[in-house]
Symmetry: C2
Subunit: 211 residues, 2 copies
Amino acid sequence: MGLQRPPDQNSETVERMIKAAEELFSERGHENVSLRQLTSHAGVNVAAVNYHFGSKELLVEAVFENLVQRVCEQRELALEKLQPGESLMLEEIVRSFVDPYLGDGNEKQGALLARFLMRNRLYPTDGTRRVVSEYLDPMAKKYIAAFAQVCPNLSRQQLVWRYLFMTNTLAASSAGDNLSRRIGALSANSGNVELRERREAMIEFLVSAFR
Amino acid sequence: MGLQRPPDQNSETVERMIKAAEELFSERGHENVSLRQLTSHAGVNVAAVNYHFGSKELLVEAVFENLVQRVCEQRELALEKLQPGESLMLEEIVRSFVDPYLGDGNEKQGALLARFLMRNRLYPTDGTRRVVSEYLDPMAKKYIAAFAQVCPNLSRQQLVWRYLFMTNTLAASSAGDNLSRRIGALSANSGNVELRERREAMIEFLVSAFR
DNA sequence: TATAGTTTCAAACTCTCATTTGAACTTAAT
DNA sequence: ATTAAGTTCAAATGAGAGTTTGAAACTATA
Protein backbone atom coordinates (compact mmCIF):
# COMPACT_ATOMS: atom_id res chain seq x y z
CA MET A 1 0.00 0.00 0.00
CA GLY A 2 2.35 2.69 -1.14
CA LEU A 3 3.41 4.46 2.02
CA GLN A 4 4.53 2.32 4.93
CA ARG A 5 7.04 3.07 7.65
CA PRO A 6 10.12 1.07 6.70
CA PRO A 7 11.83 -0.75 9.57
CA ASP A 8 15.38 0.10 10.64
CA GLN A 9 16.94 -2.37 8.32
CA ASN A 10 20.58 -2.20 7.44
CA SER A 11 20.05 -2.39 3.75
CA GLU A 12 22.87 -1.79 1.34
CA THR A 13 21.04 1.27 0.11
CA VAL A 14 20.72 2.88 3.51
CA GLU A 15 24.40 2.40 4.25
CA ARG A 16 25.42 3.83 0.92
CA MET A 17 23.24 6.87 1.49
CA ILE A 18 24.64 7.52 4.94
CA LYS A 19 28.18 7.13 3.70
CA ALA A 20 27.59 9.49 0.80
CA ALA A 21 25.84 11.92 3.11
CA GLU A 22 28.77 11.99 5.52
CA GLU A 23 31.19 12.68 2.72
CA LEU A 24 29.21 15.39 1.01
CA PHE A 25 27.91 17.01 4.19
CA SER A 26 31.38 17.30 5.66
CA GLU A 27 32.53 19.11 2.56
CA ARG A 28 29.65 21.41 1.78
CA GLY A 29 27.14 21.12 4.61
CA HIS A 30 23.81 19.44 4.26
CA GLU A 31 22.01 22.61 3.20
CA ASN A 32 24.22 22.80 0.15
CA VAL A 33 23.74 19.22 -0.94
CA SER A 34 20.61 18.45 -2.88
CA LEU A 35 19.03 15.04 -2.71
CA ARG A 36 19.79 14.55 -6.36
CA GLN A 37 23.49 15.14 -5.80
CA LEU A 38 23.45 12.95 -2.73
CA THR A 39 21.66 10.02 -4.28
CA SER A 40 23.59 10.09 -7.52
CA HIS A 41 26.83 10.13 -5.52
CA ALA A 42 25.54 7.17 -3.53
CA GLY A 43 24.40 5.40 -6.67
CA VAL A 44 20.79 5.10 -5.59
CA ASN A 45 17.52 6.53 -6.74
CA VAL A 46 16.23 9.89 -5.52
CA ALA A 47 13.11 8.35 -4.08
CA ALA A 48 15.20 6.16 -1.81
CA VAL A 49 15.65 8.99 0.65
CA ASN A 50 11.98 9.44 1.29
CA TYR A 51 11.36 5.75 1.16
CA HIS A 52 13.98 4.81 3.75
CA PHE A 53 14.15 7.89 5.93
CA GLY A 54 10.87 9.72 5.38
CA SER A 55 12.39 13.07 4.47
CA LYS A 56 15.65 14.83 3.93
CA GLU A 57 15.51 16.35 7.40
CA LEU A 58 15.18 12.90 8.94
CA LEU A 59 18.11 11.64 6.92
CA VAL A 60 20.19 14.53 8.20
CA GLU A 61 19.23 13.76 11.76
CA ALA A 62 20.02 10.09 11.28
CA VAL A 63 23.51 10.98 10.08
CA PHE A 64 23.92 13.36 12.99
CA GLU A 65 22.77 10.82 15.55
CA ASN A 66 24.99 8.16 14.03
CA LEU A 67 28.04 10.33 14.32
CA VAL A 68 27.36 11.68 17.80
CA GLN A 69 26.72 8.19 19.07
CA ARG A 70 30.04 7.00 17.69
CA VAL A 71 31.97 9.88 19.22
CA CYS A 72 30.30 9.56 22.59
CA GLU A 73 31.08 5.86 22.79
CA GLN A 74 34.74 6.58 22.19
CA ARG A 75 34.75 9.32 24.79
CA GLU A 76 33.07 7.04 27.26
CA LEU A 77 35.80 4.46 26.79
CA ALA A 78 38.63 6.96 26.91
CA LEU A 79 37.25 8.56 30.04
CA GLU A 80 36.77 5.26 31.82
CA LYS A 81 40.33 4.30 31.08
CA LEU A 82 41.41 7.47 32.85
CA GLN A 83 39.37 7.12 36.01
CA PRO A 84 41.01 4.26 37.89
CA GLY A 85 44.29 6.03 38.58
CA GLU A 86 43.94 8.68 41.23
CA SER A 87 46.29 11.16 39.62
CA LEU A 88 43.90 12.49 36.99
CA MET A 89 45.66 14.76 34.57
CA LEU A 90 43.84 17.76 33.18
CA GLU A 91 45.46 17.40 29.81
CA GLU A 92 44.42 13.79 29.47
CA ILE A 93 40.81 14.60 30.12
CA VAL A 94 40.93 17.22 27.43
CA ARG A 95 42.54 14.77 25.05
CA SER A 96 39.92 12.15 25.73
CA PHE A 97 37.38 14.76 24.75
CA VAL A 98 39.10 16.16 21.71
CA ASP A 99 40.54 13.05 20.07
CA PRO A 100 37.30 11.18 19.42
CA TYR A 101 35.83 14.39 18.09
CA LEU A 102 38.51 15.01 15.52
CA GLY A 103 38.76 11.37 14.57
CA ASP A 104 41.86 9.97 12.96
CA GLY A 105 43.76 11.02 9.89
CA ASN A 106 41.76 13.41 7.78
CA GLU A 107 39.78 16.22 9.29
CA LYS A 108 36.50 15.15 7.75
CA GLN A 109 34.83 13.89 10.90
CA GLY A 110 35.64 17.00 12.87
CA ALA A 111 34.35 19.19 10.09
CA LEU A 112 31.13 17.23 9.83
CA LEU A 113 30.51 17.30 13.53
CA ALA A 114 31.31 20.97 13.70
CA ARG A 115 28.80 21.72 10.99
CA PHE A 116 26.12 19.78 12.77
CA LEU A 117 26.76 21.39 16.11
CA MET A 118 26.82 24.88 14.64
CA ARG A 119 23.68 24.13 12.75
CA ASN A 120 22.06 22.96 15.95
CA ARG A 121 23.17 26.14 17.63
CA LEU A 122 21.78 28.36 14.92
CA TYR A 123 18.73 26.43 13.78
CA PRO A 124 17.88 23.75 16.31
CA THR A 125 15.11 21.30 15.51
CA ASP A 126 13.32 18.80 17.68
CA GLY A 127 15.47 16.05 16.23
CA THR A 128 18.83 17.70 16.82
CA ARG A 129 17.82 18.76 20.30
CA ARG A 130 16.90 15.20 21.05
CA VAL A 131 20.34 13.99 20.01
CA VAL A 132 22.01 16.59 22.19
CA SER A 133 19.97 15.80 25.28
CA GLU A 134 20.19 12.06 24.73
CA TYR A 135 23.91 11.69 24.00
CA LEU A 136 25.81 14.90 24.59
CA ASP A 137 24.28 16.09 27.84
CA PRO A 138 24.90 12.89 29.84
CA MET A 139 28.44 12.80 28.51
CA ALA A 140 28.86 16.44 29.47
CA LYS A 141 27.92 15.73 33.05
CA LYS A 142 30.57 13.05 33.28
CA TYR A 143 33.18 15.42 31.92
CA ILE A 144 32.19 18.16 34.28
CA ALA A 145 32.52 15.70 37.13
CA ALA A 146 35.95 14.72 35.87
CA PHE A 147 37.06 18.34 35.59
CA ALA A 148 35.74 18.97 39.07
CA GLN A 149 38.22 16.43 40.41
CA VAL A 150 41.15 18.14 38.75
CA CYS A 151 40.04 21.73 39.27
CA PRO A 152 38.76 21.86 42.85
CA ASN A 153 39.19 25.63 42.89
CA LEU A 154 36.52 26.15 40.23
CA SER A 155 32.88 26.28 41.23
CA ARG A 156 30.29 24.05 39.67
CA GLN A 157 28.95 27.02 37.76
CA GLN A 158 32.37 27.90 36.42
CA LEU A 159 32.94 24.33 35.37
CA VAL A 160 29.74 24.29 33.37
CA TRP A 161 30.69 27.50 31.60
CA ARG A 162 34.15 26.31 30.75
CA TYR A 163 32.97 22.99 29.53
CA LEU A 164 30.61 24.72 27.13
CA PHE A 165 33.28 27.13 25.99
CA MET A 166 35.51 24.15 25.34
CA THR A 167 32.94 22.52 23.09
CA ASN A 168 32.43 25.80 21.30
CA THR A 169 36.11 26.25 20.69
CA LEU A 170 36.42 22.72 19.43
CA ALA A 171 33.51 23.05 17.05
CA ALA A 172 34.46 26.46 15.72
CA SER A 173 38.07 25.47 15.22
CA SER A 174 37.23 22.33 13.30
CA ALA A 175 34.84 23.85 10.82
CA GLY A 176 36.17 24.38 7.37
CA ASP A 177 39.68 25.01 6.17
CA ASN A 178 39.35 28.70 6.68
CA LEU A 179 41.32 28.68 9.89
CA SER A 180 44.49 27.57 8.15
CA ARG A 181 44.19 30.37 5.63
CA ARG A 182 43.60 32.89 8.38
CA ILE A 183 46.69 31.74 10.24
CA GLY A 184 48.70 32.20 7.10
CA ALA A 185 47.45 35.76 6.85
CA LEU A 186 48.26 36.59 10.47
CA SER A 187 51.54 34.79 10.89
CA ALA A 188 54.70 35.77 9.10
CA ASN A 189 55.00 32.05 8.36
CA SER A 190 54.08 30.24 5.23
CA GLY A 191 50.44 29.38 4.89
CA ASN A 192 50.36 25.66 5.41
CA VAL A 193 49.46 24.44 8.85
CA GLU A 194 49.66 20.86 9.94
CA LEU A 195 46.69 19.09 11.42
CA ARG A 196 48.68 17.72 14.32
CA GLU A 197 50.03 21.14 15.08
CA ARG A 198 46.54 22.60 15.19
CA ARG A 199 45.33 19.86 17.47
CA GLU A 200 48.20 20.37 19.90
CA ALA A 201 47.74 24.13 19.97
CA MET A 202 44.08 23.72 20.74
CA ILE A 203 44.70 21.26 23.55
CA GLU A 204 47.24 23.62 25.01
CA PHE A 205 44.71 26.43 24.80
CA LEU A 206 41.97 24.43 26.45
CA VAL A 207 44.17 23.14 29.22
CA SER A 208 45.29 26.62 30.11
CA ALA A 209 41.68 27.77 30.04
CA PHE A 210 40.85 25.40 32.88
CA ARG A 211 43.48 26.76 35.23
CA MET B 1 18.07 51.25 -20.00
CA GLY B 2 16.73 48.72 -17.60
CA LEU B 3 19.82 47.44 -15.84
CA GLN B 4 22.30 49.99 -14.56
CA ARG B 5 24.62 49.81 -11.59
CA PRO B 6 23.07 52.08 -8.97
CA PRO B 7 25.50 54.30 -7.03
CA ASP B 8 26.02 53.89 -3.29
CA GLN B 9 23.32 56.32 -2.38
CA ASN B 10 21.86 56.44 1.12
CA SER B 11 18.32 56.35 -0.02
CA GLU B 12 15.54 55.79 2.42
CA THR B 13 14.84 52.47 0.77
CA VAL B 14 18.36 51.17 1.15
CA GLU B 15 18.49 52.08 4.82
CA ARG B 16 15.15 50.47 5.50
CA MET B 17 16.26 47.29 3.80
CA ILE B 18 19.51 47.08 5.76
CA LYS B 19 17.70 47.72 9.02
CA ALA B 20 15.10 45.07 8.29
CA ALA B 21 17.83 42.68 7.19
CA GLU B 22 19.75 43.12 10.44
CA GLU B 23 16.67 42.43 12.49
CA LEU B 24 15.48 39.39 10.59
CA PHE B 25 18.94 37.94 9.98
CA SER B 26 19.87 38.12 13.64
CA GLU B 27 16.76 36.16 14.52
CA ARG B 28 16.62 33.54 11.83
CA GLY B 29 19.77 33.81 9.75
CA HIS B 30 19.81 35.12 6.24
CA GLU B 31 19.28 31.72 4.66
CA ASN B 32 15.94 31.47 6.42
CA VAL B 33 14.69 34.88 5.38
CA SER B 34 13.19 35.17 1.93
CA LEU B 35 13.36 38.41 0.03
CA ARG B 36 9.60 38.64 0.20
CA GLN B 37 9.64 38.52 3.97
CA LEU B 38 12.53 40.94 4.11
CA THR B 39 11.07 43.52 1.78
CA SER B 40 7.58 43.36 3.21
CA HIS B 41 9.05 43.83 6.68
CA ALA B 42 10.99 46.80 5.36
CA GLY B 43 7.97 48.18 3.55
CA VAL B 44 9.57 48.20 0.12
CA ASN B 45 9.04 46.31 -3.08
CA VAL B 46 10.68 42.95 -3.76
CA ALA B 47 12.47 44.27 -6.80
CA ALA B 48 14.24 46.87 -4.68
CA VAL B 49 16.79 44.31 -3.52
CA ASN B 50 18.02 43.52 -6.99
CA TYR B 51 17.74 47.10 -8.05
CA HIS B 52 19.81 48.55 -5.21
CA PHE B 53 22.15 45.70 -4.35
CA GLY B 54 22.24 43.51 -7.43
CA SER B 55 21.33 40.27 -5.69
CA LYS B 56 20.40 38.82 -2.34
CA GLU B 57 23.96 37.63 -1.80
CA LEU B 58 25.28 41.15 -2.30
CA LEU B 59 22.73 42.53 0.14
CA VAL B 60 23.89 40.00 2.70
CA GLU B 61 27.49 41.00 2.17
CA ALA B 62 26.62 44.66 2.49
CA VAL B 63 24.96 44.02 5.84
CA PHE B 64 27.95 41.98 6.93
CA GLU B 65 30.43 44.64 5.90
CA ASN B 66 28.38 47.33 7.58
CA LEU B 67 28.36 45.49 10.85
CA VAL B 68 32.00 44.44 10.83
CA GLN B 69 33.06 47.97 10.03
CA ARG B 70 31.10 49.32 12.97
CA VAL B 71 32.53 46.78 15.39
CA CYS B 72 36.08 47.30 14.21
CA GLU B 73 35.84 51.04 14.62
CA GLN B 74 34.75 50.61 18.21
CA ARG B 75 37.52 48.15 18.89
CA GLU B 76 40.02 50.52 17.36
CA LEU B 77 38.89 53.27 19.71
CA ALA B 78 38.79 51.07 22.77
CA LEU B 79 42.23 49.66 22.04
CA GLU B 80 43.76 53.08 21.49
CA LYS B 81 42.40 54.27 24.79
CA LEU B 82 44.24 51.41 26.44
CA GLN B 83 47.64 51.89 24.87
CA PRO B 84 49.00 55.05 26.49
CA GLY B 85 49.30 53.64 30.00
CA GLU B 86 52.20 51.23 30.30
CA SER B 87 50.45 48.83 32.63
CA LEU B 88 48.35 47.08 30.03
CA MET B 89 45.90 44.74 31.63
CA LEU B 90 45.10 41.47 29.94
CA GLU B 91 41.49 41.63 31.01
CA GLU B 92 41.01 45.07 29.55
CA ILE B 93 42.29 44.01 26.18
CA VAL B 94 39.85 41.15 26.18
CA ARG B 95 37.04 43.48 27.16
CA SER B 96 37.87 45.92 24.41
CA PHE B 97 37.55 43.01 22.04
CA VAL B 98 34.41 41.46 23.44
CA ASP B 99 32.29 44.49 24.28
CA PRO B 100 32.01 46.00 20.80
CA TYR B 101 31.20 42.56 19.52
CA LEU B 102 28.32 41.91 21.84
CA GLY B 103 27.01 45.45 21.59
CA ASP B 104 24.84 46.96 24.25
CA GLY B 105 21.63 45.78 25.78
CA ASN B 106 20.05 43.04 23.74
CA GLU B 107 22.09 40.24 22.30
CA LYS B 108 21.00 40.88 18.74
CA GLN B 109 24.25 42.25 17.43
CA GLY B 110 26.33 39.43 18.83
CA ALA B 111 23.97 36.88 17.41
CA LEU B 112 24.03 38.51 14.00
CA LEU B 113 27.79 38.75 13.93
CA ALA B 114 28.14 35.19 15.12
CA ARG B 115 25.92 33.97 12.34
CA PHE B 116 27.93 35.81 9.75
CA LEU B 117 31.26 34.59 11.04
CA MET B 118 30.11 31.02 11.26
CA ARG B 119 28.67 31.28 7.83
CA ASN B 120 31.96 32.59 6.58
CA ARG B 121 33.71 29.72 8.26
CA LEU B 122 31.43 27.13 6.73
CA TYR B 123 30.64 28.64 3.35
CA PRO B 124 33.02 31.47 2.59
CA THR B 125 32.44 33.55 -0.51
CA ASP B 126 34.65 36.07 -2.23
CA GLY B 127 32.66 38.84 -0.61
CA THR B 128 32.88 37.58 2.95
CA ARG B 129 36.55 36.77 2.56
CA ARG B 130 37.13 40.31 1.40
CA VAL B 131 35.46 41.73 4.49
CA VAL B 132 37.57 39.52 6.72
CA SER B 133 40.85 40.43 5.10
CA GLU B 134 39.95 44.10 4.85
CA TYR B 135 38.62 44.74 8.34
CA LEU B 136 39.19 41.80 10.65
CA ASP B 137 42.73 40.82 9.74
CA PRO B 138 44.34 44.24 10.31
CA MET B 139 42.47 44.51 13.60
CA ALA B 140 43.65 41.03 14.52
CA LYS B 141 47.27 42.03 14.04
CA LYS B 142 46.85 44.94 16.41
CA TYR B 143 45.31 42.71 19.02
CA ILE B 144 48.03 40.13 18.67
CA ALA B 145 50.56 42.89 19.16
CA ALA B 146 48.72 44.04 22.27
CA PHE B 147 48.58 40.53 23.68
CA ALA B 148 52.26 40.14 22.96
CA GLN B 149 52.98 43.01 25.34
CA VAL B 150 51.03 41.43 28.16
CA CYS B 151 52.02 37.82 27.52
CA PRO B 152 55.75 37.92 26.81
CA ASN B 153 56.05 34.24 27.63
CA LEU B 154 53.91 33.22 24.66
CA SER B 155 55.46 32.86 21.23
CA ARG B 156 54.14 34.69 18.23
CA GLN B 157 52.72 31.43 16.93
CA GLN B 158 50.95 30.72 20.20
CA LEU B 159 49.52 34.21 20.24
CA VAL B 160 48.04 33.76 16.78
CA TRP B 161 46.47 30.48 17.79
CA ARG B 162 44.98 31.87 20.94
CA TYR B 163 43.66 34.95 19.26
CA LEU B 164 41.82 32.76 16.78
CA PHE B 165 40.50 30.51 19.50
CA MET B 166 39.26 33.59 21.28
CA THR B 167 37.29 34.75 18.26
CA ASN B 168 35.88 31.27 17.84
CA THR B 169 34.75 31.10 21.43
CA LEU B 170 33.17 34.48 21.16
CA ALA B 171 31.29 33.64 18.00
CA ALA B 172 30.15 30.23 19.10
CA SER B 173 29.01 31.49 22.48
CA SER B 174 26.98 34.32 21.03
CA ALA B 175 25.03 32.34 18.49
CA GLY B 176 21.47 31.57 19.36
CA ASP B 177 19.81 31.15 22.71
CA ASN B 178 20.69 27.52 22.84
CA LEU B 179 23.54 28.03 25.25
CA SER B 180 21.24 29.22 28.00
CA ARG B 181 19.08 26.15 27.61
CA ARG B 182 22.09 23.91 27.69
CA ILE B 183 23.35 25.50 30.88
CA GLY B 184 19.99 24.88 32.45
CA ALA B 185 20.27 21.21 31.53
CA LEU B 186 23.76 20.83 32.94
CA SER B 187 23.51 22.94 36.07
CA ALA B 188 21.33 22.04 38.99
CA ASN B 189 20.21 25.67 38.83
CA SER B 190 17.10 27.06 37.28
CA GLY B 191 17.26 27.61 33.55
CA ASN B 192 17.47 31.36 33.19
CA VAL B 193 20.88 32.84 32.66
CA GLU B 194 21.59 36.52 32.65
CA LEU B 195 23.36 38.16 29.75
CA ARG B 196 25.78 39.98 31.97
CA GLU B 197 26.62 36.80 33.76
CA ARG B 198 27.41 35.08 30.51
CA ARG B 199 29.60 37.90 29.36
CA GLU B 200 31.60 37.91 32.58
CA ALA B 201 32.05 34.15 32.51
CA MET B 202 33.36 34.32 28.99
CA ILE B 203 35.81 37.10 29.76
CA GLU B 204 37.07 35.13 32.72
CA PHE B 205 37.50 32.11 30.49
CA LEU B 206 39.36 34.02 27.82
CA VAL B 207 41.64 35.77 30.26
CA SER B 208 42.65 32.51 31.85
CA ALA B 209 43.22 31.04 28.39
CA PHE B 210 45.94 33.60 27.75
CA ARG B 211 47.96 32.74 30.82
C1' DT C 1 5.50 -21.91 -9.49
C1' DA C 2 2.56 -18.59 -7.53
C1' DT C 3 1.91 -14.91 -4.54
C1' DA C 4 2.59 -11.19 -1.36
C1' DG C 5 5.60 -7.92 0.41
C1' DT C 6 9.60 -5.02 -0.29
C1' DT C 7 12.56 -2.21 -2.88
C1' DT C 8 13.90 0.39 -6.99
C1' DC C 9 13.12 3.34 -10.80
C1' DA C 10 12.03 7.24 -14.19
C1' DA C 11 9.00 10.64 -14.41
C1' DA C 12 5.85 13.94 -12.80
C1' DC C 13 4.28 17.06 -9.25
C1' DT C 14 4.19 20.97 -6.21
C1' DC C 15 6.02 24.61 -4.02
C1' DT C 16 9.13 28.32 -2.94
C1' DC C 17 12.58 31.05 -4.16
C1' DA C 18 15.42 34.80 -6.48
C1' DT C 19 15.24 37.30 -10.40
C1' DT C 20 13.38 39.86 -14.40
C1' DT C 21 10.18 42.74 -16.79
C1' DG C 22 7.85 46.70 -18.50
C1' DA C 23 4.85 50.07 -17.17
C1' DA C 24 3.84 53.74 -13.83
C1' DC C 25 5.54 57.14 -10.90
C1' DT C 26 8.78 60.72 -9.06
C1' DT C 27 12.32 64.04 -9.42
C1' DA C 28 15.33 67.46 -11.30
C1' DA C 29 17.27 69.88 -15.04
C1' DT C 30 16.59 72.43 -19.41
C1' DA D 1 6.47 72.41 -19.64
C1' DT D 2 9.21 68.87 -21.45
C1' DT D 3 12.45 65.65 -21.18
C1' DA D 4 15.37 62.22 -19.26
C1' DA D 5 17.03 59.64 -15.57
C1' DG D 6 16.14 57.42 -11.33
C1' DT D 7 12.96 54.75 -8.63
C1' DT D 8 8.98 51.91 -7.44
C1' DC D 9 5.52 48.62 -8.45
C1' DA D 10 2.55 44.27 -9.55
C1' DA D 11 3.06 40.52 -12.13
C1' DA D 12 5.47 36.99 -14.70
C1' DT D 13 9.45 33.99 -15.27
C1' DG D 14 12.30 30.16 -14.65
C1' DA D 15 15.32 27.41 -12.01
C1' DG D 16 15.82 24.25 -8.30
C1' DA D 17 14.35 22.08 -4.42
C1' DG D 18 11.91 18.11 -1.87
C1' DT D 19 8.43 14.99 -2.48
C1' DT D 20 5.10 11.73 -4.64
C1' DT D 21 3.61 8.29 -7.88
C1' DG D 22 2.68 3.94 -10.09
C1' DA D 23 4.73 0.58 -12.51
C1' DA D 24 8.58 -2.59 -12.74
C1' DA D 25 11.98 -5.52 -10.49
C1' DC D 26 13.28 -8.14 -6.86
C1' DT D 27 12.92 -11.48 -2.86
C1' DA D 28 11.23 -14.68 -0.04
C1' DT D 29 7.75 -17.79 1.48
C1' DA D 30 4.27 -21.40 0.70
